[in-house]
Amino acid sequence: MQVPAPFDYRRATSVGDAIALLQDYGPDSRVIAGGHSLLPMMRLRLARPEVLIDINHLTELDYIRVDGSFLKIGAMVRHVTLQTSHLAAEYYPIFAEAEAQIADPLVRNRGTVGGSLCQADPAEDLSAVFSALKANVVIAHRSGTRKVPISEFHTGPYTTILEADEILTEVEVPLRSNTGSAYEKVERRVGDWAIAAVGAMVRIEEGLVSEAGIGLTAVRADHFRAKEAEDSLVGRPPSTEAIAEAASLAATHCDPFADQRGPEDYKRHLVEELTKRALSRAMNRSLPEVH
């Protein structure tokens, strides 16, 4: 059995308490949410926090609701909750689609939205989803909260802009009319991380693409985003040519590397193929009669 190095444990009673504990214990303390990323790393002794601050009991962070023009998702929402949320699916079918392909039911029962984003694994799926949806994340600190676009949240593999005593509390997604979304992922086996995955959001107004979001994961796209491809779509009528061009741009502007999931050329090919599939499904869904 793989066993972690010794550590201490504190249970936070509120967001404020969690932040206070993080401050008390300093940089060797770590928040634990679902634990599905942190515990494996601790067992392999790749992570060795001295104190775990458990935020699993902060029900105040467990919600999915519409508030004004935003869909708001609390950091402690479990994968399975997002996967089965009618509210989320009503606005963005991409959630249920992506979630159904994240890990396996055991992991989805515990793993959280906040933990997924904060882990910042380069193959993480929700980062691509929220990138496609152009979401904002809400971060709580000692003296209040700050809000940053998802495109500024990740600073590299396994790193984010979070300070040691900050916690992510919420992700908010703008609500949009005439919008479709979809997720496409290829994995070697169910429960494996993506070889490559693409999330797409397309808004069509008066026959033209007015807004497009394309999120990529596992292929070292800048901030999980295919910006050039997004830009190429805006202002154009939806068409196979537009899709093909965007897909090709997405494949060109990412930077996948070879690993046991596949060689670089294959991953690039997948980005192109999956971008096409995700975009065309998103476009179909954005048609008013469907929405």
Binding site: M1, P6, L44, V190, D192, I195, A258, Y266
Partner: protein, 792 residues
Amino acid sequence: MTDVKDKPDGVGFGRVIRKEDARFVRGKGSYIDDIVLPGMLHGAVLRSPYAHAKIISIDTSVAEKHPKVKAVITGALLETLNLAWIPSLSHDVIAVLATDKVRYQGQEVAFVIAEDRYSARDALELIEVDYEVLPAVVDAKRALDPGMVVIRDDIENKKDNYIFDWGSGDEAATEAVFEKADVIVEQDMLYPRVHPAPMETCGAIADMDPISGKLTIYCTTQAPHAHRTLYALVAGLPEHKLRVYSPDIGGGFGNKVGIYPGYVLSVVGSIITKRPVKWVEDRSENLMSTSFARDYHMKGKIASTRDGKILGLRVDVLADHGAFNNTAQPTKFPAGFFHVFSGSYDMEAAYCSVKGVYTNKAPGGVAYACSFRVTEAVYAVERMVDRLALELDMDPADLRMKNLLRPEQFPYTSPTGWEYDSGEYPRALQLAMDIAGYEDLRKEQAEKRANGELMGIGLSFFTETVGAGPKKHMDILGLGMADGCEVRVHPTGKAVVRLSVQTQGQGHETTFAQIVSEVTGIPVADVEVIHGDTDNTPFGLGTYGSRSTPVSGAAAAVASKRIVEKARLIASAMLECSPDDLEWTTGRWQVKGDPSAGKTIAEIALAAHANLELPEGVEGHLDASCVYDPPNLTFPFGAYICVVDVDPGTGKVKVRRFIAVDDCGPRINPMIVEGQVHGGLADGVGMALMESIPFDEDGNCLGGSFMDYLLPTSLECPSWETGETVTPSPHHPLGLKGVGESATVGSPPAVVNAVLDALKPFGVKHADMPLTPAQVWRAMQGRPMRTDLAIQ
């Protein structure tokens, strides 16, 4: 769900619920890690981070000062006990703890014994090892290149990484056949390194009683008796003071045949600390350091006439054995039974050569449900037959039908000297094709191809080679491959059967009770199976290579028959008639012509223990034993058909259907047979599509966790469609052939043939396993990858 109700009388063969399930489904099994002994300590192994490095120094002083550490063992200490190296299963040696060099990543370097497993692990980090890193030999194809670093410089005068050359068959005759052939097809293929990955990893508890000198080793072993004898031989421990006890085992698949350093270290640890020492490896340790399987680079060459009569087959193998030659196989056969590679086909000549080399990878081999390399052999021939079909533009089913051995050819002597016992091959293939609806599938495929959709249909026909083996041909480290069995009927007619083999989940507690029941008529529920404990069972070589039913099952049948014969004599005394006047009906001897006069086995058992005056020469009690030396191997066979759909845009393979017709002779418990087949088919899908342990150029193992070494889940497996034919073995007392590994042996080529059939429109002829999405896509581009090396 399988219907288990068709066995109302509870006697003999048939679908009965597994006896062991009552405890397993309640979580009441008792595995190594469930066993807790008073005063027990915990061991942990420090492993090499490098594939090849000289050990300059090891400093254990800080670790020893850890308040909960009891001892730290290094190779230097083992050297003083003459235990730093132990014999391998293939006439080589393996290091228990490295003394001079580490030779693969994950090799054992030191052993910490502490009060609890957390402290043991913590203390590992306190050991300082100074390594001088050496270049690693990773690519087996380059292991013999001039100037290559020598891995085994512990062997005197060793100047290269060569292990052995071995061949079988008539090379000249085979070459002559190639001379006259119309068509010759050649294909290089790799059966990549895979791992058995049992759910339970390996472990042991050694408990040396300092007063009596008795050493009990609780251990995850498939072969408790062989282990006991090896400990006695290697460590000079008196065999009567050694007890090997194998509790419930969570899967073996060959992984638990050999003796691992961790077991030996637990023993040494218990002797040093005078307390029981438990060692249980973690998942990565299991994947990185214990017996792998396969790793055969094969060059196949097949010859035929223009109209598809196969004439000959040649396969030249480069075998990667890792850092120590530790494959488990009968002494005479360094490549196991690979030379059964002519498979199920009638051909004039065949020849194979096998060259073994050392690399900086974990040692082992031949583990994983392979029947001593029959898996590689079947893969080779079944791929070659498909390659030939492609070349001849013939349907692979037609080509197989045309060349399968015919029933009248049995017993059949293969070009390399095997004597196949019995078979009706065309019948099995036809049945599989009927279940599949083969013609309709081909039609559907043609329609799909016209639309650019990729559908593939793959076949394989395998001949298994199990039940090792006749003592005159086979031994492991000098121990003949016969197995003992003892059956005892208690005074009240209940029975106990003691076995030398050890179940790892196959259901022996049920099937062996059924064998005794079938012969004696004692209800299955009334037969208790005892196994896994060397103090309480007769000697034998254990469970692997699908040998339990063919060897130990035969021993149980013969012993049971002896019981029935003895019962006859006792019944004749009871009924005051001649034994010749008695006839056997299930569970009862009765007077011929007078069925009302008879004695049941229970009545006879009571009489045998009571004051009945027994006939001359008959001792009391009702028991018997047998040591079964099989006259020949058994040859189960089967026809498999796999249907896949491939996503042309992503290369992702979906196994849509899998049809498996197995012939293992009569089925003791059809439900258990189907379970074995289901598991083996899942294994096959795993190997064909996702399992592999490649190494990067520094020799880092890239398959060392379940995030890297992918096993199939139910979502990758279709609903299996099974069928059966029954061709009894003429020499097994009950006609049984064994089935444990059939599906693992037979299924990978069916899946691979199906995927490659799907890719036919792209002109793809071959791509090596595992056929991951990336590999399939690369094959479609005409650039399949090597799957033994890191993806570049």
